[in-house]
Each structure stands twice: as structure tokens, then as C-alpha cells.
Amino acid sequence: MNAYIEQMGLIAPELVLTALSLFVLTWDLLKKGRNSDHIGYATLVGLAVTGWLLLQQWGMLGDKGTQTAFGMVTIDRFGTFFKLFTVGSMAVVTLFVMLDKNERKHGIGEYYFLLIGASIGAFFMVSTNNLLLLMLGLELLSLASYSLAGFHKGSKRSAEAALKYIVFGGLSAGVMLYGISLLYGLTGTLDLGLMGHAPEGSGAVSLATQFDASPIPVAIAVVLVLAGFAYKVSVVPFHFWTPDVYEGAPTPVTTFLAVGSKAAGFAALLRFVGALFLTDGVDASIVAYGDRIGFLLAILAAITMTLGNLSALRQGSLKRMLAYSSIAHAGYVLMGAASMTSEGFAAAMFYLAAYYCMNLGAFGFLIYFEGVTGKDDIDSLKGMGWRHPVVAWSMVVFLVALTGLPPTVGFYGKLILFYAAIDAGLAWLVIIAAINSVISLFYYFRVAKSMFLTEPVPQVPMRQHGLAGILCVLAVVTVLAGLGAFKDPLRGWADEGPASLEIYATDAGSR
């Protein structure tokens, strides 16, 4: 018991978030839904405290990281990187909720409560080597996301999105759970570290050993678990829910799903794949079957980015187009995982950081646009460039970054992803990704063309200065990061993450 209390400091950020979620819910009850902006400010303060604690934690952690009692929670730089990512996206999403003109202000406390709950799930999901806690974190994130997708109770589209989300989500969670149960049966442990490399006398069998003895059950179990992750990050063939849910859910929620939830899914995927198959890991016997999983992921990445980009080409709705674009970007990030090297993992993490800037910006633009016109189709964008120049030019920056052109962070992120993939011998994948970037140019620039090259249609001029300011800041960050302003710290952070993803051979005798 004392061990637990001593180690409470390690999960201080999670505790602060939990307290914040309860505080927000109670305050909303007491205020009976009035003064909704105050709750937003309280959320921002709580998130700032959490972020500060995480930065402290980053400073204190060495390369190795540390584990709490029974190896349940693993605190390392890899996890802290993604926690900072989650807090950062939550903060921007909170601002979006506060500034969104279409958001109903009644019951806003529950909205923040669910968002914070989803973040707590993401926090535990990214910082554990134990499959039980990973599953619980993932489900907490999912359950909060289902409710958020259906938050507009009177809206048919919101209800439909939530229903489709939970049907697909329940299926994939079940499939993943079944895969975990098979992995448990094969290896005799739930700890990813022990699964990857089981020392003598730990009572567990490493997955590599099992693979030599009985390849088919191991392959089935691994594929079932990967299916669960593929659903969470919307990789083909588990992407069907993405366009519908992204379109039907309230736009700030869509933003969170596309950025925060997806990054958490990738973090868990990278940790799972890294512990079991990383080819520059300690165990030489891993290499052979690690390469096969890498090849499987590479094929999935190629199909995902191609299908996402081709489908995005023929969308009339900007929101739906961004949904398909986020599928395509999942394919790019998966390239990093498919290379099965620490270098590739670092590239995937850097690309996710770039994705954070450009996708938050693009969705922020969508919220602004919906606030002004009440529509989300690309044709209604006509004249935005002349009526709202600041926002429109920011959007152009995000579009350039999403395409992957200099001088933005999107270009730099793609560059290191491509390098990592070539080093891992996946040159064919890089060629497909490059072709895909060219395809994506068409639909991203259709938006820019619609904004600038067409005559403005008369509309009520309405400005949202707060939102425009956020977009401006994000655009400046996107360009500066591309020009190299934050290149060194960001790369340093992303590089140190996988380095800390070392395999924890916990003392199995202690449990």
C-alpha cells in the first residue's frame, strides 16, 4: 500500500485531470448551466497545470523511464511526449468549443467533462506496458468519444454518427480483446516487455519463441490486436466509420477525434509494435517476424493513403474531405511504424507533431467557416479569401502543410518519414507516398481556388476575432517550424521518445 502512495507523484498529471473533470461537472451542476465561459477558463487553467507537471516530469525522467508498482503504469519520455500532445490538443479544442458559434451552451459542463475524460483515457493508454491498462484506457477514450459524437441530442446527424461509431467501436474493441486473450494464452503474461523478451524464470514465454513453435496462432492474435489499433487510428480496412462520424459529430469533437484520439491510438500502436517487433531491439530472434509485421503495416499504409486521397478528391463537403485527408495522413504516419526502426518511430512522432499544427488549423478554419455561413461545402467557400483574408491565408498555410510542401512543417515531417522508410528498405512505399502527395495537391488546392479565384458571393459579413487569432498563431507556428525554428527541440523530443521505449523486463516474481 505504501508503495502506491509513494508513487502517486508519478501520476500527478492524471490526478490533476481527474480532479478537473469532477470539478467541471460539479460546477456546471451548481451553476445550472449558466456562465458557461467560466467553465472553459477553468478547464484551460487545469490543462495548463497538467502541462506544467508534464514538463517537470520530462525534465526529471532519464532515458530509461520508470514504472509504478506491479508494472502497471510506465512513465517514460515516449508517453510524456504524447501526453503533452494530448493536453495541447485539448487546450485548442477547449478554445474551439468556447468560440464556436454553433455550439449549444447548455450542458457545456458535461461536454468538458467528457473531453477531459477522453484525455484521461488517452493518458493511461499511452503510458502503460500492461495490456489490461492499455485496454481500459482505450475504452475510456472510446466511451467518452461515443458520447461526444452524439452530444447534440436533437440532431439527427449527430445521433447517426454516434450510432455508427459505437457499432464499429464495439466490434473492434471486442476483436482486439479477443486478440489480447490469445496473446495472454500464448505468452502467459499481459506485460508487453515480458512478451517481447522473457528472461529465464519469469514464468512467461516470449512471443518470438512462440512464433517459432506455432506461427499461425501468434499471427492471428497479433492481427486481431492490430485491428483494434487500426480502427482507433482509422487505417484501411477499419476506416468506414471515419467519414460519417467526422461529418456528423460536433466540429470541435471531430477536431479532438482527428488529432488527440488519433495520436493516442498511434502511441499505443507504436508501443505495442515497438515492444514486440522493433528490429533494432535486444532480441535477434525478433528480426525475422518483425520484418513480416513491418511488411504488413507497409501494405496497409500504402492502401490507406491511396484510398484516403482518392476518396477525398470527390468530396463536396469540406468536413468530409478533411475526414478522408485524416485517413490519408494515418497512412503516412503508419509508414514510420512500418519501418520498424527507432528512426522510423521518431519520424512518426515528429510527423504527428506537425499534423497537430496543420490539422488543428484546418479544423479551426472549418469551425470559423461554419460559424460564418452555416454550411460546410466547398462551393460556399467562394469569396472567403476576400472577405476574411487573415483566416483564409492561414488556411492556405495549413493546406500547403497538409500537402507537404516547403516552407512548412508538413514538408519537413514528410522528409524525415521518407528518409526513415528508405533506410528500412521501403523505397516502393516512399514512391507511393510521393505520388499520393501529388494527388492530395488537387483537392487541397481546390479549397484555396474556391476561396480566392472565384467571385465573392454576397453574404453577411461576420467576424470572430478570437478564432481568427488562434488560426493565425497556428499558421505562424506551422511556417516557423518548417523554417527550422523549433526543429531542434522537436526532433530532440521525438528522438528521445523511442529511445526511452526500451523493453522493461519487470520482475515477474513480484506479482
Partner: protein, 100 residues
């Protein structure tokens, strides 16, 4: 009973769950299908724990899965109820507002 018997039951339950989800159009049956998949995993956990490793990991996981299934069912039924009020149906195929 040998371990194989347990695995056979759980594999059958898993298959029935998947088939239910794919073939049924009523969302309540789909939710029942997911429950079957979760329980298939539960049988696996408890059986593997009984025959294989020391410790209580598998049994603990089974208990947590039961709780998870309950939480998921609660959220799912709330969403289905809201869907039913708006569409007067419990068939996802009848909702077609969100499409290309």
C-alpha cells in the same frame, strides 16, 4: 476438461458474435453480438489462467472486461434510445443522412 475444449467454446462464441454483427440489421442484435465476443475473450482469459500461468492476471482481466461490457452497454443503449426517438427505428441502415 482439457484446455482445448474451452478454446473451442470461446472460438465458437467469437464466430457466432461476428456472424451476428455482420448479418443482423437490428442494432440491438449487433450489441448482443459484441457482448458475445467480449465473453468469448473472457472464457479465454479464465481458461488460460487456470491451465497456464501463475498469478491472477487473466482472472483480473475477465472481471475488468465484465465491467467494460456493462459500461459500453450503458453508453450504447443511451445512444440507441436517442437514435430511436429521432429516426423511429433501431436499424442503422435506415440512417442515411451521412453519405457521399
Amino acid at each position: 476438461m482439457p484446455l482445448g475444449a474451452y478454446i473451442a467454446v470461446s472460438a465458437a462464441l467469437f464466430a457466432i458474435g461476428i456472424v451476428t454483427i455482420i448479418t443482423r440489421r437490428n442494432v440491438l442484435y449487433i450489441l448482443m453480438g459484441t457482448e458475445m465476443i467480449l465473453n468469448a475473450a473472457n472464457i479465454n482469459f479464465v481458461a488460460f489462467n487456470r491451465f497456464g500461468s501463475n498469478g491472477l492476471d487473466g482472472r483480473m482481466f475477465a472481471i475488468f472486461t465484465i465491467i467494460l461490457a456493462a459500461a459500453e452497454a450503458a453508453v450504447a443503449l443511451a445512444i440507441v434510445l436517442n437514435f430511436y426517438y429521432l429516426f423511429n427505428s433501431v436499424k442503422p441502415s435506415e440512417a442515411d443522412l451521412l453519405r457521399e
